[in-house]
Structures are given as C-alpha cells and as structure tokens.
C-alpha cells in the first residue's frame, strides 16, 4: 500500500514539475534581456513557422528575396498561409 501511495506521489510530483517548468519558462521570457529575450517575445506573438511552407513554394530564392512589396510580400503570404497550412509544428 505504501509503495502504491509512493508511486502516486511520484506522478503528482511529475505533474507539479511540469507546472513549475512552465512558470520558469514564463519568468525567463519576461526577464531575459537582450536578443534571446526579444526572440522568445517575438515567438510568442507571431506564428513564424508558417512562413517556411510559403517560402518553400515561392520558387527560386533570387526571385523573391528583394521583393517585399510585391506578390510575395509578407502580408500577402501570411494571409495565404493562414488559410492553407496548419501551424502546430
């Protein structure tokens, strides 16, 4: 019986650790200075991964690297991506 209680306690401890870990990440995100802090902050606000799927379909790099205002501009691609792709990975 004691062994069983011990096992359930360990499970509970594991779940509490997850909560503490997320809290730690949150604290780090808000307090981290400089570039890493900005990077995490931006990551929280934007869905950046979707861009990868768009860029890979656009064609030759040289075709769109200089073209921020035209057909492949960021706003257009973001609208297109949000419709087409899942963004959870």
């Amino acid at each position: 019986m004691i062994k069983k209680i011990h096992r359930w306690n360990c499970l509970l401890l594991g779940l509490v650790s997850v909560a503490l870990f997320i809290t730690l990440l949150h604290q780090l995100s808000t307090r981290m200075a400089g570039i890493p802090g900005d990077l995490i902050d931006r990551n929280q606000r934007e869905e950046l991964e979707v861009d990868a799927y768009f860029y890979s379909e656009v064609g030759d790099l040289s075709e769109f690297l200089d073209d921020e205002q035209g057909r492949y501009g960021r706003r257009a691609l973001r609208r297109s991506l949000e419709k087409e792709y899942s963004t959870d990975e």
């Binding site: 096992r7 359930w8 360990c10 499970l11 594991g14 779940l15 997850v18 997320i22 990440l25 949150h26 995100s29 400089g34 570039i35 890493p36 900005d38 990077l39 995490i40 902050d41 931006r42 990551n43 929280q44 934007e46 950046l48 991964e49 861009d51 990868a52 799927y53 860029y55 890979s56 379909e57 064609g59 030759d60 790099l61 040289s62 769109f64 690297l65 200089d66 921020e68 960021r74 087409e84 792709y85 899942s86 959870d88 990975e89």
Partner: protein, 431 residues
Amino acid sequence: MGKEIEKLWKSEDYWAIWFAAVLFVGIIIGAVSMVPKVGKWVANPADAFAGDTGLWIAALGIGLGVLMTVGLAVMRENWKKFFVGFLAVFMLAVISYTIAGQTTVKAWGFGYAIWALFFGLLIANTVGTPDWILKGARSELFIKTGLVLLGGEILFSEILKLGMPGLLVAWVVTPTVILFMWFFGTRWLKMASKSLTIIIAAATSVCGVSAAIAVAAACRAKKSELTLGVGMTMIFTVLMMIVMPPLCLALGIPSAVAGGWLGGTIDSTGAVVAAGAFLGPTAEKVAAVVKMIQNVLIGLVAFLVALYWVAKVDRDPDAPRPSLMEIWYRFPKFILGFAAASVVFSFVLMPALGHEEVSSVLGVSKTFRGWFFCLAFASIGLESNFKELASQLVGGKPIYLYIVGQSFNLILTLLMAWIAFGGILFPVFSE
C-alpha cells in the same frame, strides 16, 4: 510467394500504407476537409478548445480509432481491447498538444513530441501503464502511418524551383555530416548500437524529430534509442535557437549567410524560422528555404538506411550475399509507401490537380501526420522505462557523438553558406 501476398492484409507495414491511403483519398475527394487541432492558450487551457474544437477533437479520436480498429480486426488481433486503449493514448496525445500549445512553451520550442514522451514516461515509471492502455499503444503502427503521410509532403517536383544556393548548402552538408557521424560513432567511439548512431546522425544532419522517426523505423531501432535521439535533439534545438542569432550578430555574419547557416544546422523547422526571423526577412527566408530543401532528404535517407540494414547490418556475416528477393522480403514495406506517396504527389497529383489544390490537401494531411506522431511518442513513453533509457547513455557516448557531429555540422554549414550566399559562387542577395 503466397505468404508475401497474405502480408498485404496481415502485416502492420502494409496497413500503415492502407490507413494513409484512406486518409489521402478522403481528403482529395473532399470527404475530409479539415482536421481539428488543439489551439493556443495563454493562461486558461480551456481556450485551446474554444468553440466546437473539443467536440471535433473527440470525433477525430473516435474516427481514427475506428479506422485503425478495422485494420486490427482484419489482422486478427484483439480489436476491442485496442480501441479502448487507443482512446486513452489519444487523450494523452491531446494533453501533450495542449501543453505544447501554451504560448510560452510554444515560443521556447518545446513541441508536442517532448511532452508526449514525458507524460508517457511519467505514467509508465510511476504508477505503471495499465495493460488495457498498452493494448492501444501501437507505437510502430502510428509511426509508420505518420511516415507514409509525411511522404506526400516531400515534393520532388518543387525542389529545383528552390534555387542552387539552397540546394548546395542543404545537399552537400547533410550527406557529409551523416557519413562523418556514422564513421565517428561506429569506428572511433565504437558505439554498441549502430541504430542509435544512425538515429543521432540523421536527427542532427537532416531535420530532427521527423528524420529520427523515419530512420529509427527504417532500421527497426529500439524505442529507447528513438526516445534518446529525439530528447537530445529537442533540447539542443532550443539551445541553438536562442544562442545562434546573437552569435551571428556578434560575428557580423551577413544576413543571407546567417540564414543559410541557421537553416542548415538548427533541427526543427519552427526553430529555424524563429531564429532566422530575428535576423531580418532575408535571413528568415534563406533559413526557411534551406531547411525545407533539407527536409526533402528524409525519404532518401530512410530508404538508404533501410536498404543498408537489410543488406548489411542485419545479415549474418558468414552468410552469402542476400539475393534481391531476400532483400525485398526483409525490406520494411512502409518505406515504399512513403516513397510512393512522394512520387504520386510530385508527379501525378501536382500536374493533375494544380499547386493550390495539392497544397490544401497537404495542409490537412500534415495535421493528421502530427496526430499520428504524437500518438507514437505517447505510446513509446508508455512502453518505456527510465532504466532502459539510462542504459543507452552509459559512458556518455551518444552525447559525445551529438556534440562532435553538431560541431562539425556547424563549421561545414557555415563554410558552405558563405560559399553559396556570401557572393563567392552566386551573386550576393541584398536586403
């Protein structure tokens, strides 16, 4: 020969192909137009299930459970117990996706795979996984089905459009790093497990989690080896995502070169884009494209590893060279499903349906693939124990292999990125 034909409806490898085919056909004919996914949330996890999302996810769990139960019934396995267990594993997958969807957790790059493994391991190593749940934890079947779905995303017809500089960085460095790590691990470190060596090499050089899964399935690695490979990759990915952009700035590396460097070295697509975006649009674009070109290599690497294992590693050294038929019998058939999906999407569906239609099909299949991988990692966690995992780390050789291999990858990729994007072989990209 008769036995080989019978495998079409009795083997898990073939059923992975049939499951993926059913899902692909369902999406293409419009029977499945969306796959629900757990949303983002900040402070209240219930926000992840806003609107009808919770109901749709429950329907997805039942739907996938029924689909796979049919397969198990035809394979003459205990389908009733599987279905009940599957629902429990699916719930664990939902919990993992929910934690991964918390905005801070997501921003740090701790994806569903690490949470599914963690929760599975936590249950298995504390209260123990009940037998009825284990009946539904069919990790290999989930992995194989997810991999066949992944095959559709590998569009060969699109590669050439991506441009020579990206191809140069992704396709010269990746095979070189795999071979370097393979020889370093097997000859220098003398690692006991060849499958663990190739998993770490593929995860480091190709694209992290997906490559690790594909290669582990191709060489029939132990679950603890895949767990270790994925765990190490994810931890180092987070570190690299945070450390590399400031390093690029400190070293004064031009944006396009930095993008090529990030895209070729950071393991997960999400982390690559996040790190690249920080350095500006050029770096973000170059990083994303290099990563996507690199991802295409998953299929080729998995195919070659499967072939090498069947023909060389798994065979008795004293036995004669295996015949082509013998190689065919032992070859993991789902790898062929993976390749077939890629060929069909690249050369049949793309010309027939057009780019837009194929993109929307893949948008749906990609979410299915994510669910299958999440189910696989939850199952692996539920079936594993810490002792076995710790035994893989004895002597620290896997960590040593990863660090040396990744360091080599960093140096070689920077060199190639400079040649490709620094104005040496091709014109300099301006911002």
